[in-house]
Point group: D3
Chain length 308, copies 6
């Protein structure tokens, strides 16, 4: 990129490295054109920057003491705040390993299921929480390791689970489909605040409270705003959320005690296991075993050698 | 029923009670017309009779010492050996609590799935074993207690599981559908010899060997007859059978190590739980809890009180 | 009690039995003078009445068809809503087995500790929740069985725990006393809504959500009202609440991860055990063993036979 | 070894290394005289060769392009197929760490016990399976690690267990000696196919089915050939085999439910532990502890310092 | 028995019932001749008497107020204190269900093994403790329920275990036979004080300390008296005693860490199981299962139906 | 230090290194003045010396063959045998990381509690054992790793526990204070012989018997010397010692079955955890987590960021 003195540039780029110097903070950013650029930040801009994330930078070319042109950062905006869905998907394709389906397709799928909810209380609460978290939801991994540990993993995992609901409702018609859709969309939503981003670590709230209780608290908050906090739907939804790890050992303070809560646990478990397994088998020769898979009870799985 | 001396009668009836007298064995049988009849048996006919089962009796009216006409049994045939499918279904409707769907519908459903198997080895082995056990398969309960403990429970449970295969293959296309169908049809087939009938007890073979190993042995026997005992399909099928209880604690000598074996465990577990749960919820008022359900980890489940 | 036609009476009494007749509901109530009185209720008054609870009844003497004077209920108010603390304590002494110390002493003790909290956020939140639940707090048992299963057990248990805080802060000065007081006062507060009263059963919210999560939700609600929901104190307090059962097995979704949370678990456990143990030893002869104590791991304890 | 053009040599040797060249496969073999020789193989001979095993090679000395004499392999036979017992024992002494007793002594010992079986069904089935596996049985280790992990370990372990049967039958005369001998000889026989040789790995059949079920299937096969598959002896023998790991956790689908099955588990466990312990104590100074022994629950054992 | 006024009688009898009257304690005793006799005791004689035990009574026939002759007890001596071995064995045969072998044979067997100990320290300590407990040792059951729960069970169990030592020393020659004999004879000796006699209950020392630690303390006491408390033999012997329950769960504060301690655990476990199993199979028809056996993991065992 | 031929020196010093030469053993010692000195020992003096310990050496300066003055050791005495309390404390300050409070303060604290025991039997036994171990008690760590792993850790841990007794006796007045003091002082006393000193290893007695049983044996020994071995106090005290690890899994052969034994377990657990936690939090920044703490269930703890 050629710099002209005092010119201001808009640069969409991913943060590659951050080093603190004496007067400035030196960061290397990677532009959508694939160019590595050195950008100077003031120290008080540092808290707004995270490694590996994409931002819309506004920067100005100025002259340093020794006559050199440098690029000084004026403002920073997270990409997901300033871009449209289509622009965002472009960014994801360029900079990240994204889920197996493009973001726009995941989004279309999830919203299709969301809009199938007929129970008004469930629809209102679920939609409100979904909208509050919409952008982050499509950028977040489903876990820091184990399963769906890539950008978009959280929403991709949610979509696959949604696909399994209909067949179960067909076979066991006493199941309440609205509850299942609402519970599935919300079950891991608070992972957005439990884990701090793509290469993220657990947050202190994540470690001390956990996404099960965080989400339950959030459902209560929204239900109060909508004045439905005492309705049966809210009780059933909260129960699904806190029980969806199925067992005390995995951090559920209550075990599933409704049919819908039980099924949510099963399809969550199944999707996390079968997605990992599918990825591992893809890299395994027929007639041999995969590596040890930690999410699969530390076992190795065999890829059969027969015609389909 | 009016008796005429020396006349021979064909009676289709269920055994209601068996009492041993001095000269004969006195049994009470219930005919398809709903009549209770006293039938005399010789002691050496006793081993062919089981309480609660339906037989085709041939009997003759003869005169006892004190001038009374009695009905003497000439021969005994189990109903399932002499009746057509349609006649058998009639019997089931009349005498038993049968599975929620009629036997003929279950049978049609299962055979439809069986015939979808495209892999020749799997088709041949599965069909052969299915045919060897066909009648008993549709009359057997799925367990002595816990789940599907009614006549026809075994086949009904199998059919429901078969219905869940397709959706999973849609969502996780790397799964081998032929293996899943074959494994599902065969997974509990040896319960026929593990448990001795409707109100049955475990057999000694059932207690000392168990239906997982019994079925594996039987697959090997049939595979040898068909000269396919060294083919990969047989190894994969045997593995599905011995691992379908999922964990050592539940009597599987190996944990599931193929994707298909893992799914078989899941859908077996899910169907046994959701069937029990559905039956319990049916008898439960909205807004209250079921009784303790032993197959559900001794828990009580809540039936929500919201509009569907 | 002598009845005069059309006179209206104010009666403070405990509900002893409830029977539904054709036109009315017949209840027997026990007055503070020890008299059993028959009171007629309309069916729509029934939901406001619970067996074993004390109410302020307003009733009128009227004449029935057959010329008999009957007492017809006009209004019902729970005793704790209309009585002063002193009047309430009188009622408790007369009608119930109360905790080993009088209610007023427990209340004085607890409020003394509450007012020692110096951290403003913790003080405000704790006080607000305390005041919202004040009356019920002093009337509730600590559990339906196991420990402190008498009227006032909840507040008595809380007070004893508060007494143990100071010594621990002396020995381990890094502990935060304000957090310990706040956490102790709030830790079981939601049992008021988890268990429905003296001879009570678990409520559906109690069974599906549980007092740990219910209380965490309530802290969040109050913190939002006070606009302190993002302060560190709230995070630490919530963590103490959800982790105070110490282990996953006992329904804590997170294990204690702060010093104060860890101590809360210890003193909660210790007080529930040593109170039960003290009661059991009181009824045991020296040199012999108590009965099996279910809260003590189903063990029997030995009462030594030595001079103190 | 001196080579003469076009002469054919018979060489008994162990494979030391295998390298694939452009035209040939170059292997180094170690002869019984201790000479290292380079032998050329065609690529299609490779599947018949395993590292560390001993073969009877037929080879011919031929001239390469550059006038050098090379040794070209004509045929390969596993040593155990072409040698007598005495010749084989010679080979074992020369090339391997063998069990503490010579192969011929182990064999004599095992066959002495085998021939003591008086029950015809048990004798026939056991002898047939023994003969089917005879050579491999004396060459196999008992495990890939843990215990008896040397050539001949499987048969040596079996012999020691056989020695413990008689004393137990003396002390508990209700035990059936024939069953104990048969079960002991067969209990680990399928390890021959579960583990692929001396330095071997688990086979896929070993991992997916396991030697307990593999052996049960094989007993059924032989019993069918001998037309005794429905005799009680076969049921009891199968039960001993599948239950000999004693507990679900160790891969037994059924726990021992006959006296003989229970004892088989005990003497199998005892011999595997006391053999490892004896080897470890041999290398330990009196008055000190052994290393951590993984087969002994990861514990260290103390070697006492007292006169015997 | 005919009574003469003022005559004194020596009566060997078992206590059948004890009732406290106003002036005396009325007991019914059963004489060796099979006669039931009423015997009056003073209240201060009561502590020396236990239900079901045999005593040498001295009694005098005296006249009561109403002219009736009654038998007044003068002195009480436990039978085992005043009788020779032969006389005692007579008593046991007459009054109790004794172990399967007569007391004198058990005693001869145990002393034969005891005298085989060659290590002087082990011999001295074991003999001293044996002699301190000799009589009680042959009269005690091995447990209050579970296994060997009859008079003499303790010594019978010990003898059977001693018989298993020699074969194990033959097969694993590194085992120290002296240690094994000493440890076996002493391992349960303190049960004499842990359980209070034939129909006995656990003593308070038994419940609070347990026979493992009680015996260790006693070995230390005797070793001090013999001035060998610091010798290696004592350490090894103590370790065998405290570790002979094998696992923490069964009350061993240390797991076996010497070869001899490990074997002691095995033969103790084996003998308690195979003795119970033998007794249960004796009462079971061939081809059927025993009842649930609590010492066998609450399992039922199958009695095979084959020729021996 | 300047050496004069044939002069004899008294040197108080810590052993820094030990090397065996041809004629002598060369050790480096560190004097209280901070000087490193080479000291020659005869080989037979070696067993009296341990790395890291402080001794009073008597040494003489003599001339070696090559005219060099060397320092030859004449005698060795452990510092704790020859120094007064005040001198010893000086040594500790100079050479070791000691507990957070000086030895003399710990000692004063412990003896103050000891002398509060009013029950004569408990006082006599506790005092005798205390005096037998007095010096070592103040020099020993409480564990080889985990908690209180510094010189004096054992006595410091004991003192803190003693401080917690009084508050508990206040709150639960049925607790016997004398028993609690005696049990607390003695509970870990045998660690002195279980672990061999500062940087010590477990002794063979420690590994094979353990400090719980060792201490119980020692209480019995002293009780016999004082002729109180059959008194109830001794039984209660022994029970507290063997049960103070609370659970079988942690090596207690009996679980606590008296109120005092139960409390001892709690305050032992609490002090080991809260001491470790306090040390870890001291090194942790506010608002962050500690490292994994192995004694705290391998968890990380959060240090809150709020005003106290």
């Amino acid at each position: 990129m050629e710099l002209n003195e005092n010119q201001v540039y808009q640069i969409l780029a991913k943060v590659e490295s951050i080093n603190t110097g004496v007067h400035f903070c030196n960061t290397t950013i990677l532009t959508t054109e694939g160019e590595h650029i050195n950008l100077k930040l003031d120290f008080d801009q540092l808290p707004f920057l995270a490694m590996g994330k994409v931002y819309q930078f506004e920067a100005k070319a100025i002259i340093k003491l020794d006559d050199e042109l440098i690029l000084k950062c004026l403002s920073i905006e997270p990409a997901e705040k300033v871009l449209s869905d289509e622009e965002l998907q472009n960014i994801l394709d360029r900079f990240y390993v994204y889920a197996p389906i493009p973001m726009l397709d995941i989004k279309k799928g999830i919203e299709k299921h969301l809009n199938k909810i007929q129970n008004k209380t469930l629809l209102d609460v679920t939609k409100r929480i979904y909208q509050d978290n919409e952008r982050a939801f499509y950028l977040h991994p489903a876990a820091t390791k184990f399963h769906h540990a890539y950008v978009g993993g959280l929403s991709y995992h949610t979509l696959t689970m949604l696909k399994l609901i209909e067949p179960f409702v067909q076979v066991y018609p006493y199941l309440n489909k609205d509850l299942l859709i609402a519970g599935t969309i919300l079950h891991d939503m608070s992972k957005i605040n439990e884990i701090s981003g793509v290469d993220g670590e657990y947050t202190k709230e994540g470690l001390l409270i956990g996404h099960l209780v965080m989400q339950t608290v959030d459902i209560d908050r929204v239900a109060r705003e909508l004045k439905v906090e005492h309705e049966e739907e809210i009780l059933l939804l909260k129960h699904m959320i806190i029980s969806h790890h199925g067992q005390f050992n995995f951090g559920s303070p209550k075990k599933p005690q409704t049919a819908e809560a039980l099924l949510l646990w099963f399809i969550d478990t199944i999707d996390s296991k079968f997605t990992v397994l599918g990825e591992a088998l893809e890299e395994t020769k027929e007639g041999t075993f995969t590596n040890l898979l930690s999410v699969m009870d530390k076992m190795r799985f065999y890829k059969g050698n027969i015609k389909k």
